[in-house]
Each structure stands twice: as C-alpha cells, then as structure tokens.
C-alpha cells in the first residue's frame, strides 16, 4: 500500500521526466516579468522569467527550480502550460491546480488546460508535500497580483 502511494507519485513517468529534464531551462535576458519563491521550511526555490507578447500573452518562459522532485517537476510543468495564456488565464490555471491538489477533480476541459500537471494528483496522498507542488505557483501568483496592482 505504502509502496503504491510512492509509485503513484515518484513512479509517474511525467513527473520523473520533468524532474530530470526540466523544460524551459534557458534563462531569459531582460524578461518582462520575474517571479521567485522560497519555501521557508525547506529552502526549496523556484525562479521564473516571463516574456509577454503584444496581446499580453505569455510568449517565453525561463525556469530554474532547486528542490525536491515534486517542486522541480511542478515548476517545469507550469513553465509549459502557461504559454499562450494571458496573466488572467495563468491565474485561472493556478486556481484549477490548487483545487485539484486539494481534491477537486478537474473537468475534461480543465484537464486540458492543466496539461502535464494532472499527473500531480499522486501528491495528494502526501499532504505535507502539497506545498512543494504549489511553490512555483505561489511565485507566479504573487508576481502577477503585484504586476496587476501596478498597472491599473
């Protein structure tokens, strides 16, 4: 049983792959937005650079994560799924992801938005690790709300 839990999390191909080969790992020079977060309780870090296109959509992302497999893979997945979305859209995905992590099953349409992140449901069996999955999102969310406050 315990082993099953572990397999569902660490045995998941997508998670393993994102952890070992994080996407968008090239750092962007002079990005439009920079987002960073640290988990005070473990020291894990997530760093993002984001470029927006003329319509305010995420066009390019740079991501570096330091931390555990869950934190790193969640960050890498995030860096993929936000592309092409406006900041409002990114916030919506963030909300869906949080809901999912706390037990709400996404609809098919929502699952499409979440992309590889749907593979993160295995973390639910490890409640204390949920914040590892959310670290990257908290970085992005904080930065977006700050950005929006500045440009009313």
């Amino acid at each position: 049983m315990a082993q099953n839990d572990l397999d569902e999390l660490y045995g998941n191909d997508l998670i393993r792959d994102h952890n070992r080969n994080p996407r968008n790992s090239a750092k962007l020079n002079s990005p439009d937005l920079v987002a960073d977060a640290v988990n005070p309780f473990c020291g894990d870090e997530a760093h993002f650079q984001i470029n927006l296109d003329g319509q305010g959509r995420v066009s390019e992302v740079g991501y570096e994560g330091v931390g555990c497999a869950i934190c790193r893979s969640a960050g890498s997945m995030l860096s993929e799924v936000i592309k092409g979305h406006t900041l409002e859209g990114v916030e919506e995905i963030s909300g869906l992801f949080q809901d999912m992590m706390f037990g709400v099953e996404p609809s098919e349409e929502q699952a499409a938005l979440l992309g590889d992140l749907t593979s993160m449901t295995g973390v639910r069996a490890f409640p204390i690790r949920i914040k590892c999955a959310l670290l990257a999102w908290s970085a992005i969310e904080d930065r977006i709300s700050e950005h929006q406050r500045r440009q009313p």
Binding site: V38, P40, F41, F126, R129
Partner: protein
Amino acid sequence: MYDVKKIREDFPILSRKIYEKPLVYLDNAATSQTPRQVIEALVDYYENSNANVHRGVHHLSQEATDLYESARVKVAKFINAREPEEIVWTRNTTESINLVAHTWAQEHIGPGDEIIVTPMEHHSNLVPWQKVAADKGATLRILPLAKDASIDLSDIDEYITPRTKLLAMVHMSNGVGTINPVKELTAKAKKMGATVLVDAAQSAPHMPVDVIDLDCDFLALSGHKMLGPTGIGALYGRRELLEEMDPFLTGGEMVLEVWYDRATWNDLPMKFEAGTPNIADAVGLGAAVDYLQDIGMENIRDHEIQLTRYALEAFKELEEELEMFGPSDAEKRGGILSFHTDAVHPHDLGTFLDRDGIAVRTGHHCTMPLMRSLGVIASARASFYLYNTEEEVDALVDSLKRALRYFTDGAK
C-alpha cells in the same frame, strides 16, 4: 439547560479536598481550572502526535502541524477574527501586549503623542506603555475613575483627541470586575485616527468577544484564564497592521531566507513566532475553546450574571463590615467581587477562608494604582466561572461572617 453539576464533573480538581473541606475555587480571575477534555488533549498530543511543526515531511510532524494550526483556526473563530493569520501565539496576555509595545509602538509613537489607558489597567497593560512613553517622549494619560470604579466618561473628549495615537484598555477589570464600554471608546478613538488595543484577558473567558464588532486593532488574551493550559496566549492583530510591523523575536521559524549577514521574514503569523512554538498548549487551548463553545459563551455569561447577582444580594448581610468595589449592577460587571474591610487585612481574611477550603485572591491583583485610587493597599477578591454555584457563594459568605467575628471580637 445550563447544568452546572454536569460541568463540574469535567473538572477533576473540583473534587479535591483542602484541609478536609471541599475545595471552593473562587480565584478564577487569577487562573481558571482545567477540564479533562483539555488535559486529555495534552496527553493525546504527547502520547500520539508529538513532533516539531512546519518543517518535517514525516507523518508525526504533519499530524502535529495539523493539530497546531487547527487550534489557531479555533481561536480565530472564537473571537471572530477574519482569518487565522491574524492570530499570533504568545505565552500570555502580557507577552501579547509587549509584542505590540516592542514593534508597532516603536514605529508609531513619537514625541508629543498621547497613549490613553483606563485607571484600572492590570500592570501588564500599563508598565509597557510607561516605557514606550518614556522612550518616545510621548505622554501616558490615565482616564479618570468614577465613584463606582468605572471609567468617569464625563470629560472623555478632552482625553481622546487627535493627539491620541493609542488607546489601550482593559475590557473587564480583574481588580474590581467593571466591564468597560470598549466598543464606544474604540469608535471614539478611531474617529481621531488612533489605534486601539483591548486587553481581553478577563473578558474573552467570560463573555462573547468579537473583534469585528468591537472594531479594535489588537486584542490580547491568555489561555490559562479560559480553561486552557498555562503558557499559551494570543495576540489578535488586524492583518494590515501585522503585515507592516517589524518582527519582535528573531530566529528559527520566523525567517524566510537567512545568510550569515542578513535575513528575510516569513509570512504571517510565523513572522512573529520565533523558535519552536508551544505546540501542545496551543492544541490544549484549542480544546478549551471547543469546550467553551459547546456550552456557549452567552450561557456562561448568563450563569455568571446570575451568580453575581446572587452574591451581591448575599453580601448585603455584610454591608456594614465590607466595602464593595465596582458597579452594583451585575450586567455591568464580570463575576468578580472585590471587597475590603479596615478591620482585617485581606491576607488574614484569605488565610481564614483557606482553612475553610475557600480559595480567594487577596492583594493588589496586579493593579496597584487602581487600589491606591480606591484608597486601599489590597482587597480580597472572589471571582467566578462557569462551574461555580450558589452553594459556593453561600459557603463564602458564611466563612466571611465567621472570619469577621473571629478577627474582631470573637477570637479569644
């Protein structure tokens, strides 16, 4: 129906004998007794879930964190805070008030500013402001005392003015029982742009307290006075204030990132909680809040009003011998009877009552200036709680009568 007999069964200590007499515990304003539900929460914590919180990935650490943080939610709901992050754990009311004095006040009190307190503050809500005033060149002003040991409000507008930066006031006086018009005074102070701190050490245990309704900025309470364990208290602070405040104690838990030469601060409420917290006693206080809410704060208040009314009536037999302090209307006061006689020093009275198994407090109740204003050095104080009964009031009055006789003409 309020079943005081059933309630008493929850408190193991109430079946103790003192000098072969049943304990009559009337020292609740000093500290309350502990129901088995709270004791069991402590035992259960140590026997099953003890671990350090927040930083561990192992199972016990998660259990301990869940228990600990859900206690915070309980306390937040108990005083109707908007969110649990507005509750900072402290050791007691005293530390809660000192936290504000060491952080908020350092930034917001300056030369010429005025800090207003009532004439009946506990030392814990007086001495910290003396120091702030002295350090900052501000003035500490004491509201005047009325005859019945309430605040004399006749000149209130000369006290609460645009110079008022802080109004710090006790909700229910532990010295004489007076319940102060906290809501009205808060409204007045806020109109002048002042910040308001309420010392709810005595009110939170005995009556409904609602920080949104009171509209105060800070509120301090002690767990040990509301059926909880010793060593745990809370400071409520409005989020905006807590956010902009510097931290108080520094070290583990309250930091985000640390380098050898600098550090950044964690989010609320951890920013104010340095080091390993008092986990078990926070959990115990959560259990105490559950217990109080099961009975209902309105019901507890009603019980105490009835008991106080009964006691005030019974004390009439002694009105020639005893001077009673505080408002005579039981609705305007807590279940605290403070009294004095020139014939016997309160300590000697207390020793006599103790031999009858009756625990009252005698002394200045950490309100020396108030006692001085009342013209005494010390008083005897009987204070009630949800488990006290009319029979216990009878026992008190009976013992007092015998004591007075003993010390005046009876002895020898």
